[in-house]
């Protein structure tokens, strides 16, 4: 019988299942040990248990933050608008500096692969691996305190995500219109304008709106290092131990982000 040589017996199947289960068990045990070790090393050994005090003291410390500083609200209007503007202008500037990065970073359109492609990919990784606060520190030292440094930091941090996602969108386009334009004698510029851009423009716009929403969050904290906006007010309240003031600023940030999310949700929906 030929069939029996290749077909599995019941015993084989059961053994294979048991083996798989044993491997899974080992994996979970390893994972559990890893978590225990992490907690031991970071929480148990690294925390200053003496300073925390009793449970009631913890509750008392946290309760400082309850309550609002109503008097602060009029002073929040200008920084809130500034935060919003940093996010908007930063995203816009980010999009502008993205254009060469997208062009160089998409394998199917990059002009000179051995040089331009790595260049684009490195700039994308660099942009994303440096935290926005660090970007802000760099630009504050370069152009001084204020919103302009924040705008530059947001733009630099946005490049990575926008360019990476957009370049991938270009790599995944439908090649058929491109072939049609090449066949009718179109130049590379015309292939880009008529074959590629109409396909990816809505995608890129969606990516940019999503990044803008994230940038509102980012610009809200940039003031911590002097790059303008609500973060600066937050920092001042914290330094003067005005905890209700801190809560007020957090609520303002929350409201702003909420607006951003709503606008982002509906505008991206309208794109499709």
């Amino acid at each position: 019988m030929q069939a029996t040589e290749t077909s599995l017996t019941l015993k084989d199947v059961i053994n294979a299942r048991h083996k798989k289960q044993r491997v899974q068990l080992c994996f979970y045990l390893f994972l559990f040990a890893l978590v225990i070790w992490s907690v031991q090393a970071t929480v148990i050994e690294d925390t200053d248990w003496e300073r925390i005090g009793s449970v009631s003291e913890i509750v008392a410390s946290v309760s400082h933050f309850f309550g609002l500083d109503i008097g602060l609200i009029p002073d929040l209007l200008a920084p809130t608008i500034e935060t919003f503007m940093i996010a908007c202008l930063g995203t816009l500037l980010g999009l502008v500096i993205c254009i060469p990065a997208i062009w160089f970073g998409a394998l199917n359109v990059t002009p000179f692969k051995p040089v331009t492609y790595p260049l684009a990919r490195i700039s994308m990784t660099l942009s994303r691996s440096i935290h926005e606060i660090v970007w802000a520190l760099i630009f504050v030292s370069a152009v001084g305190l204020g919103a302009f440094a924040g705008i530059l930091a947001i733009a630099a941090r946005s490049l990575g995500f926008i360019a990476k996602m957009s370049a991938e969108a270009i790599e995944n386009i439908d090649q058929k219109p491109v072939e049609a334009i090449r066949a009718m004698g179109g130049s590379n510029l015309q292939i880009m304008l008529y074959g590629i851009l109409p396909q990816v423009l809505p995608v890129i716009l969606g990516i940019v709106i999503f990044e803008w929403e994230i940038n509102i969050r980012r610009s809200a904290i940039l003031g911590l290092v002097g790059a303008g906006g609500l973060g600066l007010v937050f920092f001042r309240q914290m330094n003067t131990f005005n905890y209700p003031g801190v809560t007020t600023v957090i609520l303002a940030i929350f409201g702003l982000i909420l607006i951003g999310e709503v606008v982002s949700h509906y505008s991206r929906k309208a794109l499709n």
Binding site: P177, M184, G186
Partner: protein, 250 residues
Amino acid sequence: MSVLSVRDLRARYSSNGPEILKGISFDVEEGDFFAIIGPSGAGKSTLIRCINRLVEPTAGTIHLRDVDVLKLGSSDLRKMRRHIGMIFQEFNLINRMSVMDNVLSGRLGYVGPIRSIFRTFQDKDIQRALELLERVGLQDHVDKRADQLSGGQRQRVGIARALMQEPNLLLLDEPTSALDPKISREVMDLIRSIATELKVPVLCNIHDVQLAKETCNKIIGLQDGNKMFDGLTPDLDQSSLEEIYAMEVL
């Protein structure tokens, strides 16, 4: 004098890959409606794409009205391509653009970079696009987006776009494979009547042997990169068909 003369054409996609075309020769005369038939994978699409060099042949010669196609530099190649209209199996339209913009895009070979950026076409081009859309029966769909049309309508946009180029050769790559039998016949009839009217020779890949016999005056049969038949449509009999499709019969 033949319009298109192909000699010993060979093509492969990579240097160590299989040879897709193994020395194909044929001539297209003025007024010909030339069908290329054969089983899937025979090299029909590759052959037609070699004519306008969307695929670079590895050997052989192609002469289009005494121009040695394979010797053209990239700028001359683009100038030559703008006189070769191409119609595709999947229509290859720009889906997010309007029907009008799709038809006008057929003029891109004649349009400079600045005009391309702003999509400003000359009035006479717009006039011609309107006439062509009326000729293919789409005068009521000018401002619709291309992806809102049915398959048959999209192929009509493809036809109008190809004619916008004022072609002196039409290449058709399975123009009816994505369409149902009734629409297929309508589309082929339309292409044939326009080609006759404008005196443009046509080279057409086609799956449907029956439709090829009804539409075309000459037929080439390909099988696995070799030419198995080349002659007038009435000469294509059962035995030559069996030879072309031998691999499928087995």
